[in-house]
């Protein structure tokens, strides 16, 4: 008797919808085992992770604040992945966007610059992210360099560049030698949506990006090009679509969105440029993109879910002394299961009996 994967006659749309849920279920089971090994009660640990953050308005706002950059970046990444272009370096594009936007904030600091500063910072952030993403894209198109490696390696370049700036030229002179810029002026800060809370304009921008992504992919010829280039490259060429142009385009869009998310994060919740502005948003967004089935609305839901794990992880650290790194383990396991469950869309399990007896 053996267990084999058998190809389905047609892709299963049911499994396509259910597979993320199966993956989440399997992840929770695995995490429970991990909690037991760590000597924690799995029921209360899962409660702290997934239920407690949903019970008070501060945590709910915080989930939205964390979900906004994840969703924005993941929408951009989903365009790349649909077109079979593998941008793994959104984290770097995020940081470069933050740096480029911050440049204007630092330069205008203490001047009486008008309300044009914030929009200009957002534009700068998006443009810088796009240009930074184009480096691996051009290397791919021109020289055939693996965009997976080049985009990933550029993350560390961006990280160290940011580090240099805040420790050197941009350091706040009154900042007690902490590696950070001065707090941005109000005109260089993303406005809050609720006076007393932390929810800011970035959440609205994220929703606009979701809407734009839905229209782009579902209604426009460009969206069709992106999907067909990834799904059937030869048919796409036959259709007259140029896959190299699309690699450049999708990398530019995803870089712009990551850069925009970066500058919004810095000019919003953080308020100044410093190392560690991202708890790995650019990498977590890869999970968000796949968990959301590379579909904008799915990504919105998946982004909220993964933001929940960030908040839950922080609370678990405070309440139960569970290391924060467990959150990263959780996200890694989740991605593993999502990709594994996806094979069930085109395949199904089947038991084969060695004897050829008629059943």
């Amino acid at each position: 008797m053996q267990l084999v994967l058998e190809k389905r006659a047609e892709r299963s749309n049911t499994i396509a919808l259910v597979s993320p849920l199966i993956a989440i279920g399997l992840t929770i089971v695995t995490m429970s085992i991990l909690f037991v090994i760590l000597g924690k009660n799995p029921i209360s640990a899962l409660g702290v992770y997934f239920i407690d953050p949903l019970t008070d308005s501060y945590s709910l706002q915080e989930i939205a604040v964390k979900a906004s950059p994840l969703v924005m970046i993941a929408i951009g990444l989903s365009l790349c992945y649909l077109a079979n272009a593998w941008n793994i370096g959104a984290e770097g594009q995020f940081l470069v966007g933050a740096v480029a936007g911050s440049w204007l904030a630092v330069k205008t600091q203490g001047t009486d610059a008008g309300p044009w500063v914030l929009p200009a910072m957002l534009l700068l952030g998006a443009a810088a992210g796009a240009l930074y993403a184009l480096i691996p894209a051009i290397c791919k198109v021109r020289f055939g360099a693996s965009e997976i490696l080049t985009s990933l390696m550029l993350v560390y370049v961006a990280d160290l560049f940011l580090d240099y700036l805040v420790r050197g030229p941009w350091r706040d002179p009154k900042g007690f030698n902490f590696p950070t810029t001065a707090e941005f002026d109000p005109v260089a800060t993303v406005p809050l949506l609720i006076e007393t809370g932390r929810l800011h304009l970035g959440a609205v921008i994220a929703l606009v990006v979701v809407a734009a992504g839905t229209v782009l992919l579902g209604k426009t010829i460009k969206g069709f090009e992106i999907r067909v280039v990834g799904a059937a490259p030869r048919a796409a060429r036959f259709g007259g679509f140029n896959s190299n142009q699309l690699i450049l385009l999708t990398f530019a869009i995803s870089g712009a969105l990551a850069g925009l998310a970066g500058i919004i994060e810095v000019a919003g919740p953080v308020g100044h440029l410093q190392p560690g502005i991202s708890p790995g948003y650019g990498f977590t967004a890869i999970i968000v993109a796949f968990l959301g089935r590379l579909n904008p609305v799915g990504i919105l839901i998946a982004g909220l879910f993964l933001a929940l794990t960030f908040i839950g992880g922080e609370q678990a650290q405070i309440a139960m002394k569970i290391p924060l790194d467990v959150t990263k383990v959780f996200q890694g396991i989740l991605l593993f299961y999502v990709l594994a469950c996806d094979s069930l869309i085109l395949y199904r399990f089947k038991l084969i009996y060695a004897s050829a007896k008629v059943a």
């Binding site: 426009t220 059937a232 796409a236 036959f238």
Partner: protein
């Protein structure tokens, strides 16, 4: 006939989910017989032979080998019992030599040197000449098939299965193959011969089993049947005859190719050299030739998937187009149907409406200001469905869910509905059932009658004879001068397909020699 058959299947059934690929098939294979397995695509021929060769496990039913029950765990067990198979699609490594390829297919119990010696011996004995030291990529398709046959014969099989062996051969090469098969039969071996070429089957086979829709329809003596009675059993009804419109008018040149040359884009590709022809509106030109002689490259050059340096090499409806993209060429009124339906002509996992958009976005009002007009794409699907009788489970299914014939009807319909002035179509009815093939051929004739220029590349000489006005032959990247179809005998085409010179005197001599030898 007394005794036990070599192989007998009893109620052999294979289910894929709810689909019955083989439904209780009983078939007997006797030594010293060539047994034909006839049926349309999807009739269950491949499933049946894969089961017999151990590649597929039956859901129900038994196989008896020399009267004893046989359960095969895989092809190696089938080979050890003496069952050999030559597949339609070769499993050869291009960069390895003939001997290395053969060695890979054997169990490796003898040294490479002994094996090479035996290879030469077997190939000489059966008149299948092969140079063991040549690399496969240098060989013609016919030679590659020889490797597969010799590889199977080196295991001294009692029973040999051949899956559509003549599909890739020139008529002369096929004749040579028949001599080999007759000899194998005389040696007492059994042969199962899959084909849908009825003339061949009548000429070669002693018994024929006809499958349709997974069921066995009958077992008969093909020599006692007519081609049309066999076809009726295969299809289940009369096939509509294709009719050309009376006195079709040829008009202005619509597609002109001037001294087109193209370097191959992969190391084993074919270089196109000095290709020239002129195709007028109202005319159908056929391009014959054994696969892999540059037909794919020519299609890419005509469609614009690969661009030429010189704009003047491809002229579409009076516009120099050699440098234009496929989209620009479509806007000039050209339409293209590639050989591969899934993955080239359509994106398999996308809906038909999206696949209508794939080639229709350029010129059919399906896109307005960058937005897709979904209603327009769906209406193209509906029109193609109606005009070409495309059968499908729902209004807008994924391309991959359609049968080959229905998907091909959709693809041809999608292009013809755009009213092209030039249609370039490659293998229009390859792997398509007879009913759909008739619909497609009729559509090509009707399109030409309406004034379009149609270029058909096909390996099926009967198809070319049926619908074309002139036929040219591709060989090693060269295209012969077109000859009128009425003068294109199988012998003449076969010689051209084998690379004979186009010199008329030489041709006549060879034809005479062939006639004398036959």
């Amino acid at each position: 006939m007394g005794g036990t058959p070599l192989l007998q299947t009893v109620g052999l059934t294979k289910r894929y989910g709810t689909f019955l690929a083989n439904d209780a098939i009983d078939i007997e294979i006797w030594p010293q017989q060539i047994h034909a397995l006839l049926g349309e695509n999807g009739a269950g021929k491949s499933t049946l032979v894969k089961t017999i060769y151990g590649l597929v496990q039956p859901s129900e039913g038994d196989m008896l080998w020399q009267g004893e029950k046989m359960v095969l765990s895989g092809p190696s067990e089938a080979r050890s019992r003496g069952i050999g198979m030559v597949f339609q699609h070769f499993s050869l490594f291009d960069n390895l030599t003939v001997a290395e390829n053969v060695a890979l297919g054997l169990d490796g119990r003898e040294s490479f040197k002994d094996m090479s010696a035996r290879l030469e011996e077997v190939s000489n004995v059966y008149g299948l000449p092969l140079d063991p030291k040549r690399e496969v990529w240098q060989l013609s398709v016919g030679e590659r098939q020889r490797i597969e046959i010799v590889r199977a014969l080196m295991q001294n099989p009692k029973f040999l299965i051949l899956d559509e062996p003549t599909a890739v051969l020139t008529p002369q090469e096929a004749d040579q193959l028949f001599v080999v098969l007759d000899r194998l039969k005389a040696e007492g071996r059994a042969i199962l011969y899959i084909s849908h070429k009825l003339d061949e089957v009548k000429r070669l086979c002693d018994t024929a089993t006809i499958l349709r829709g997974g069921k066995k329809i009958s077992t008969c003596n093909p020599k006692a049947e007519t081609a049309s009675s066999l076809a009726r059993m295969m299809v289940g009804s009369e096939i509509k005859e294709v009719k050309a419109a009376a006195n079709r008018q040829t008009t202005v040149p619509r597609l002109v190719v001037n001294d087109l040359g193209l370097e191959p884009d992969d190391p084993h590709g074919v270089r196109l050299q000095h290709i020239s022809f002129e195709l007028k509106g109202g005319e159908i030109l056929g391009i014959a030739g054994v696969a892999g002689n540059g037909q794919d490259e020519l299609f890419a050059a005509l469609s614009g998937e690969r661009l030429a340096q010189d704009p003047g090499t491809v002229v579409i409806d009076g516009h120099a187009a050699g440098h234009l993209s496929i989209t620009r060429r479509r806007k000039l009124g050209a339409a293209f149907v590639p050989e591969e339906r899934l993955g080239h002509g359509t994106a398999p996992r996308m809906r038909l409406s999206e696949n209508a958009l794939l080639t229709g976005h350029a010129a059919s009002g399906m896109v307005q200001h960058g937005f897709v007009n979904t209603a327009a794409t769906l209406s193209t699907v509906d029109k193609a469905t109606k005009a070409f009788d495309v059968r499908k489970a729902k209004r807008d299914p994924e391309a991959a869910s359609l049968s080959g014939g229905n998907l091909q009807k959709f693809i041809v319909g999608r292009e013809i509905l755009r009213n092209p002035v030039v249609l370039v179509v490659s293998q229009p009815t390859w792997g398509v059932d007879a009913g759909a093939a008739a619909v497609i051929r009729q559509a090509l004739l009707d399109l030409a009658a309406s004034g379009a220029a149609v270029l058909v590349t096909s390996q099926d000489l009967d198809e070319l004879a049926e619908i074309t006005d002139r036929i040219a032959v591709m060989f090693h990247g060269h295209l012969s001068a077109p000859i009128p179809t009425s003068e294109a005998s199988r012998e003449k085409l076969g010689l051209l397909m084998g690379g004979a010179s186009l010199d008329q005197k030489n041709l006549d001599q060879k034809e005479a020699a062939h006639a004398a030898g036959a």
